[in-house]
């Protein structure tokens, strides 16, 4: 069964927290991964690989570049897992 966007946000926040130590509550849809959360490209790729595993989706590298905010990633994962 496909997960709701809220469930994806929570799951993604856990992955971000695990990788970077950023509190899960700070991982909100409007936040930019680079500008707001200060996540570097290596950490971003680690988050992507873990998100792929957790949500059973594939996020090609070219598409990762388009995911600038947490909300972009949540929508992408929701669409890909629908």
């Amino acid at each position: 069964m496909a997960k709701s966007e809220q469930e994806i946000l929570e799951g993604l926040a856990e992955i971000v927290n695990e990788e970077t130590g950023i509190p899960t509550g700070d991982v909100q849809p409007e936040k930019s991964f680079t500008d707001d959360l200060d996540i570097d490209s290596l950490s971003m790729m680690t988050i992507v690989v873990n998100a792929e595993e957790k949500f059973g989706v594939r996020i090609p590298d070219d598409d990762v570049k388009g995911l600038s905010t947490v909300g972009d990633a949540v929508s992408y994962i929701a669409k890909a897992s629908a």
């Binding site: 695990e18 990788e19 130590g21 950490s43 595993e53």
Partner: protein, 418 residues
């Protein structure tokens, strides 16, 4: 007339010590255990042990997870984690000096590098595919990873280096750090070694060389340098880090000085990839270079922390080299083999043993050689036995020897400070 300014600039002092070892999670607990003659060697409990001839090793006493954040343990190879733990202790011990990053260097060695990351990432690749290999895999497995992690943490910009010379690596790092200060490249250098290689592959490799003790039923008695019953070394893990500083810089900021790096001697055997040169010529040259470099006569040296790994051939070869280098002065010095307690920390050994040497001079107490129950008659040295030995008052000096596969020889000379 002596140019004291010039002399002061070239003196290199130790202002901070840090370690995580099989005997303790810091320098104080390690030193206490060393004096008490405790062994850090244990029977391994992992499933894979049964497939190997060797079932024992010396793991760190305090797991890095207990002191680092979860993110730090995820983003750093175990060898990097040890280096960070030891470097933080050393830096705090030095009083967290205010220093321009461009005058701060880091030299952290490793014998094998991020081998645990390399091997687990290869398992991931085989079992789950390339996509599951994490992006931090390469920065975690590269041998300079620990030096880079420490350098980044401290903002070191004078140069971050990683000498790799097998079991001499940690000592070579300290020699390199001293050179950086002597040549004027840096005022402070954070230096040492780290190793985390307790895994079936390195164990199988060392076992295949017949380098490891197989005294599996008596782990605490397995590492027994200079004893007739020795049958090889015990693999250990951990890190040792020192903060070295020009005496001028340390005195200017009012730092507490714990010892002095008086000199270093480095040579290579040009003999065999793994076996020690039975003539010991390379080791003798390293020791003589260290004495010359330090301006010490053989009679000035009262103590040696020997490489003495507990292999049948290596211990005797080193003992003969010491006697050749020191001549009659050999009888005036006592030798400790602290690997009898820590096991062999490979690329961290020279650093951890330098710390033991510095503390021996500071406390005027040479650590014991645990398990020396039946001394080998071929070892013609005054080896400190089961109890610590007092060292003389006044200005004294000591040596730390380290030798590595590949024919690397490093001797470091330390002086007491009043």
């Amino acid at each position: 007339m002596t140019d004291t300014r010039q002399t002061d600039t070239r003196r290199i002092v130790v202002t901070g010590l840090g370690a995580t070892t099989p005997l303790g999670g810091d320098v104080a607990s390690t030193w206490t255990a060393l004096l008490a003659g405790k062994s850090g060697v244990r029977v391994l409990t992992e499933d894979w042990v049964e497939t190997l001839p060797v079932h024992i090793a010396a793991k760190v006493a305090v797991e890095p997870e207990e002191v680092l954040s979860r993110q730090e343990t995820k983003r750093n190879d175990r060898s990097q984690q040890f280096a960070l733990v030891a470097a933080r202790e050393a830096w705090a011990h030095a009083g967290a000096p205010e220093v321009d990053g461009e005058r701060l260097g880091v030299v952290v060695a490793s014998g094998i590098g991020g081998v645990l990351t390399l091997l687990s990432a290869y398992d991931t690749l085989k079992e789950r595919g390339a996509r599951r290999v994490m992006p931090l895999t390469v920065p975690m497995l590269m041998p300079n990873g620990p030096a880079a992690a420490v350098g980044l943490e401290l903002g070191a910009k004078a140069g971050v280096h990683t000498p790799v010379s097998a079991c001499a690596s940690g000592a070579e790092a300290i020699a390199y750090a001293a050179d950086m200060i002597r040549s004027g490249r840096a005022d402070i250098v954070v230096a040492g070694g780290t190793e985390a290689a307790i895994h079936p592959l390195p164990l199988a490799g060392f076992a295949a060389m017949q380098a490891l003790s197989t005294r599996n039923d008596e782990p605490e008695r397995a590492s027994r340098p200079y004893d007739k019953g020795r049958d090889g070394f015990v693999l250990g893990e951990g890190a040792g880090i020192v903060v070295l500083e020009s005496a001028e810089h340390a005195e200017r900021r009012g730092a507490t000085i714990h010892g002095e790096v008086a000199g270093a001697g480095i040579s290579s055997d040009g003999y065999h990839i793994a076996a020690p040169d039975p003539s010991g010529a390379g080791a003798v040259r390293a020791i003589r270079f260290a004495l010359d470099n330090a301006g010490l006569s053989p009679q000035d040296v009262v103590h040696i922390n020997a490489h003495a790994t507990s292999t049948p051939a290596g211990d005797v070869a080193e003992a003969e080299a010491i006697r050749n280098a020191f001549g009659d002065a050999t009888d005036g010095l006592c030798v400790s083999a602290t690997k009898s307690m820590t096991g062999h920390l490979l690329g961290a050994a020279g650093a951890v043993e330098s710390i033991a040497t510095i503390l021996a001079l500071h406390h005027r107490l040479a650590p014991p050689t645990t398990n020396l129950e039946d001394p080998d008659d071929d070892v013609r040295l005054d080896v400190v036995g089961l109890e610590p030995r007092s060292l003389p008052d006044g200005p004294i000096a000591a040596l730390n020897n380290s030798f590595g596969f590949g024919g690397h020889n490093v001797a470091l000379a330390f002086r007491s400070v009043s």
